[in-house]
């Protein structure tokens, strides 16, 4: 049933697919983390128009499926601007922008749990607002946000399965290519599913360990109160 796994060509496709999936997810969550942090800061400290713009951004990216956004990025945007852009770049961008929409919420939540008192404390010892943010609040916020970040990583990885439908050779794309030559539908999708499962479970486990190691001592008590 699973003999196709022994074929080196198919192995190559699966590995290539996994690499693309991993690459695009990691870039996506990292772009999302950077942009999401900026959006969260803007939402907390910004003036009304900035807040409204951020709310609109979040609503657009969280309100529609990444699947639609991917089609918009790959087909619609180049057609409107009438330029040729590499599909890969567009895909990286749309995953990052989408993830930023979600991560803004997580970062804002994390920052708000530590914000008020420590902002005052920082300023009372002579640091500026930006310095307090940079040296006091963000380092703690990043430690608090790790579990939500892991969730975001899982859901973004799952969304990368859409890439196959705009012509990329990701894991699902590899599965489809194998199926063209080999009609064993069930085993191929089982294998593809298990690869995703192994990667997502493994990565979340690592992130859980990092969270435990890096977490602020006594944070559970604080979060409960």
């Amino acid at each position: 049933m699973f003999e196709f796994l022994l074929n080196p060509v198919y192995q190559g496709w699966l590995i290539q697919g996994l690499l693309l999936t991993v690459e695009i997810t990691l870039f996506g969550v990292l772009i999302g983390l950077g942009l999401g942090t900026l959006l969260a800061i803007g939402d907390i400290y910004g003036k009304k128009p900035l807040k409204a713009a951020i709310a609109l951004y979040v609503e657009i990216f969280r309100g529609s499926p990444l699947f639609v956004q991917l089609f918009l990025a790959v087909y619609t945007v180049p057609a409107i601007l009438n330029i040729q852009i590499d599909h890969g770049v567009l895909a990286f961008l749309v995953f990052g922008l989408n993830s930023a929409g979600y991560q803004k919420g997580y970062m804002k939540g994390a920052m708000e749990t530590i914000l008020d008192d420590q902002m005052q404390a920082g300023q009372s010892v002579g640091m500026s607002k930006v310095q307090t943010l940079r040296h006091v609040i963000l380092p703690q916020a990043y430690r608090i946000v790790i579990p939500s970040w892991t969730n975001e990583f899982c859901s973004l990885t799952k969304s990368t399965a859409t890439l196959a439908f705009v012509g990329f050779l990701d894991l699902v794309g590899a599965g489809r290519s194998i199926l063209i030559n080999n009609m064993q539908i069930l085993p191929v999708w089982i294998v593809v599913g298990l690869i995703y499962l192994a990667w997502i479970t493994g990565f979340s486990k690592i992130m859980d360990i990092i969270y435990e190691k890096k977490k602020i001592p006594g944070i559970e008590l604080f979060m409960q109160s």
């Binding site: 309100g63 499926p65 089609f71 057609a79 499962l197």
Partner: protein, 217 residues
């Protein structure tokens, strides 16, 4: 086709999008609530719930749809030969895994010692769960349920891969009709999705917070 015809063609997919999402939401409640209570109160079998959640959090919906519809469909035409059933089944099971976590958080928020109070006045464990915990848990989890509903609307776009003619599938169909308009169909689809997700999630969040205040949770 002009814009108006395209809009009508895509809007005709909205009932299917909604029925898939709502049906899988209900399946998710039916699975998620008991699983959350089993996870909290029956520690010995909790690992089964954990495994179920891990599997559905770790495998993309698209792969599951392809697996059940094209992989199992030929062997078990009833029920997996039916695309609508497969869609509701896969998204429902996925939602059950998510909702179980939402309810688990809510059980903790409501305070699981209320079960003790229930049993102390002579209710059985499961009766006190049914009469005391569930009404409060549902109220407590409305914000989470709002975003779960939005997630299901968005996930329903994946059923394109098994060929159900909902919103997303119709937009892609329009793209393949010559001359191949790649702008309007996707803009319309994105706008419709935002319109479907935003108001209800927003309203549920509002309503939930009000109820919570009223009940003093």
């Amino acid at each position: 086709m002009d814009v108006w015809q395209q809009l009508i063609f895509i809007v005709e997919g909205v009932p299917l999008t909604l029925s898939i999402s709502i049906l899988s939401f209900l399946i998710g409640i039916a699975l998620g609530l008991p699983l959350a209570f089993i996870r909290v109160y029956e520690k010995e079998v909790g690992f089964i719930v954990d495994a179920y959640e891990k599997i559905f959090r770790g495998i993309p919906e698209i792969v599951l749809l392809l697996l059940f519809y094209f992989g199992l469909g030929p062997f078990f035409p009833i029920p997996f030969g039916n695309a609508f059933f497969v869609a509701a089944f896969v998204l429902g099971l996925r939602s059950g895994a998510n909702q179980s976590q939402i309810y688990r958080g809510a059980i903790r928020g409501v305070g699981d010692e209320q079960i003790l109070a229930g049993t102390s006045i002579g209710l059985s464990k499961w009766r006190s769960i049914w009469h005391i915990m569930i009404p409060q848990v549902l109220n407590f989890s409305t914000p989470g349920l709002g975003s779960e509903y939005a997630l299901l609307i968005k996930d329903s776009a994946y059923v394109y891969v098994i060929g159900l003619a909902e919103l997303m599938t119709r937009a892609i169909q329009l793209k393949s009709i010559p001359p191949g308009d790649v702008v309007t169909p996707f803009v319309i689809a994105a706008a419709l999705y935002v319109a479907l997700t935003f108001p209800i999630a927003f309203w549920l969040d509002r309503w939930g917070n009000k109820r919570k205040k009223k009940l003093g949770l």
